[in-house]
Amino acid sequence: MSARPVAYGDAPPRLAVLWCPDWSVVAAGASPLEPVAVLYANRVVARTPAAATAGVRQGHRRREAQRICPSLRLIDHDPARDGREFEAAVRSVAQMVPRLETTEPGSLTFLARGPSRYFGGESAMAQRVVQLVIDAVPNVVTGIGIADGRFTAGVAARQSAGQHAAAAVPVIIGSGPNDTRAFLDPLSVSTLADIADVSGDLIDLFRRLGVRRLGDLAALPAADVLARFGRAGMFAHRIACGGDDRAADAVAPPPELFVTQAFEDPVHLLDPLVFAAKQLAQQLHDLLVANGRVCTRLSVVAETEHGERSEHLWYRPNGLSVAAIVERVRWQFDGWIQQPGGLSGGIVLIRFTPDEVCSDDGSQLGFWGGRTEADEWAARAVARVAGLVGEQQVFVPAWRGGRQPGDAYAWVCIDTADVTEPTERLAVVEAPWPGHLPAPSPATVMAESVPAEVFDAAGHVVRVNGRGVLSAPPHTVSVRGRPAETIAAWAGPWPIDERWWDSRQHRRMARFQFTTSSGEALLVVVEQQQWWITAVYS
């Protein structure tokens, strides 16, 4: 690859960052007056202004948030919904500004110089952009910051969004290193973790060493920072000084490097498009990997038969993997296809052009081989099967934890999980689950429990009272549609009272194990005086 280095020099480009805080609740269509929060991994990631007023903060656990605000409505995190809804904002801003770049749904970045000259100055341009977003998306809160470099502009955008004004006032930092330093120096070092993804451990270390403000960090000699904190520390130091946050070896790839696919028959549905995108992403990935490179900014273009066009830049500082590309393409196309009014025709062309690549530092694989050939084969087969039966039908296991046999692991759909990178989804959190049944676990866990009837020796239905006392020892069990079987041995009841703090999910039941005369072992629960067979030790 004959790459020409970009003349970034030391001066970072003038960038505008548009930032929508709590985008996930806006995407979920929540009214700002209702207390709503979006949860991911049991932590609040976004909340409405009403919930914020009540005191709910990002990072709160579910129970903590509910204690602070009992009327809080909780919504599950759905990255696909966030990405799809954000397309509306991107489309409206794209009328005014070319080459929009998205890092994650809720954040837009673009070069400020051109548009601000055209629209009469940075402030006027910023206000117009904010107005476009507010018109396009109901209930959105947004802020805009213009400064040198992505990090400084990001901080400015967050300050602008944090003003809680009806229409956000743009925060514009003057050009040049002096203004940038004057703006950044008083900020806390934790800003680095919030915006630039510097690891929390490093921030903690800075704090303990007495480096509390970005100014303190910037005042240290660069060589000493590199010697003491390595590459991560060097990166933190560079952006704290208002320097460029791109990798030092980032280059613009040669213009002939792109992958494209034209469809003879226009495609109208999302799934075949995403399937084609997956193959293209793999092609592009292979091309780049052959040169030891990874794409950090990618341009994704799609065209319909009537010339409608969707173009979008996606940025990810750590590099876009195949799964990351496919996820972003899905967001972009889903929002585009489902826009009000829809498209006039099918899609005939998609093209991926890497806009910025840098050398692939990669993540260290396991000592013994990491990915094997079998993994590659399986990943390909999964993609193919997903194309045949639909992505919503292919699942991989993920750890959840819980007391019921079906709770410990759950099946998650592969469009939200990475098949060949199971570390995260299968990380077993060793929490005690008092009252869970010890091994061995049942090999068959019914998706829906089967109603059953349990009788005592006299032929009466066995009942369990509120204190867990049986009316009589169980004698026969009869499953729907099958003749009654004699119970050879049994144990229980083991009462369980789960989620008593939540009226909708509260469950109170007693569990039993039965073996029948035919040698079958069953896990049976009684809930609200109704017997259910939940699992079979088959």
Binding site: A381, R384, W411, P440, S441, A443, T444, V445, A521
Partner: protein, 244 residues
Amino acid sequence: MERGSSQARHEQLAQLVTTVAPVTFARDRLLPVHAALKPLFPDAGLTRGSIIGCSGAAAMSVALATVVGASAAGSWLAVAGLPALGLRAASEVGIALERLVMVAEPPQLGETAWANMVAALIDGFDLVALAGVPQIRAGTARRLQARLQARGAVLIVVGNPGQFSCDLDISVQHPTWQGLGDGSGRLARRRLTLVASGRRLGRERRTEVWLPGADGGIEPASDVAADVVLQPVVLQPVALKQVG
């Protein structure tokens, strides 16, 4: 001196044999099985390209037990038509969950679509477990079987195999649970007699195992071991004697 050179020649010859050998015997193409199940398989492993049927009372556990060895050794397992598979039991028995993929068959999947799906699984996975095999034509089953042999995967059919002809059928006799009393105790472990029969097996092969064992895994069950477990421990009084 002469002895040493003849030994070297033997080694050379042995190397030559491996390089010019024209055929690969089926038993060389094996996937590992758990030690406790080895007596069931004529080659002490899963022959690539074969179909194994699991039926009877404990079919699900037996199917999991059959693939444990290969799954732990790095093979991927795909399951289709088994939405009720207990993942906790699978992990206890030793299945590598990081190499497990489940396909939920959409309802009203036609014969061709179903066969395409199974073919795609066979192409990509060493181990494919199916349940609820639909009514398919014998020709479709034969083509899938040919693909299985070409690709070298192993197909495990839980329940009725339909049109597939199994190379090996594993059934269960005398399942006996231990640990559960009359209102006391809990399910602790189950003793099974596994019986393998098949076209190429001269006579039935059988073995006894604890499946699941006390920790949910597989343990071989020899009668001696069972006696040891079941015998109550009697403490003999020890006569003390005065020393020093």
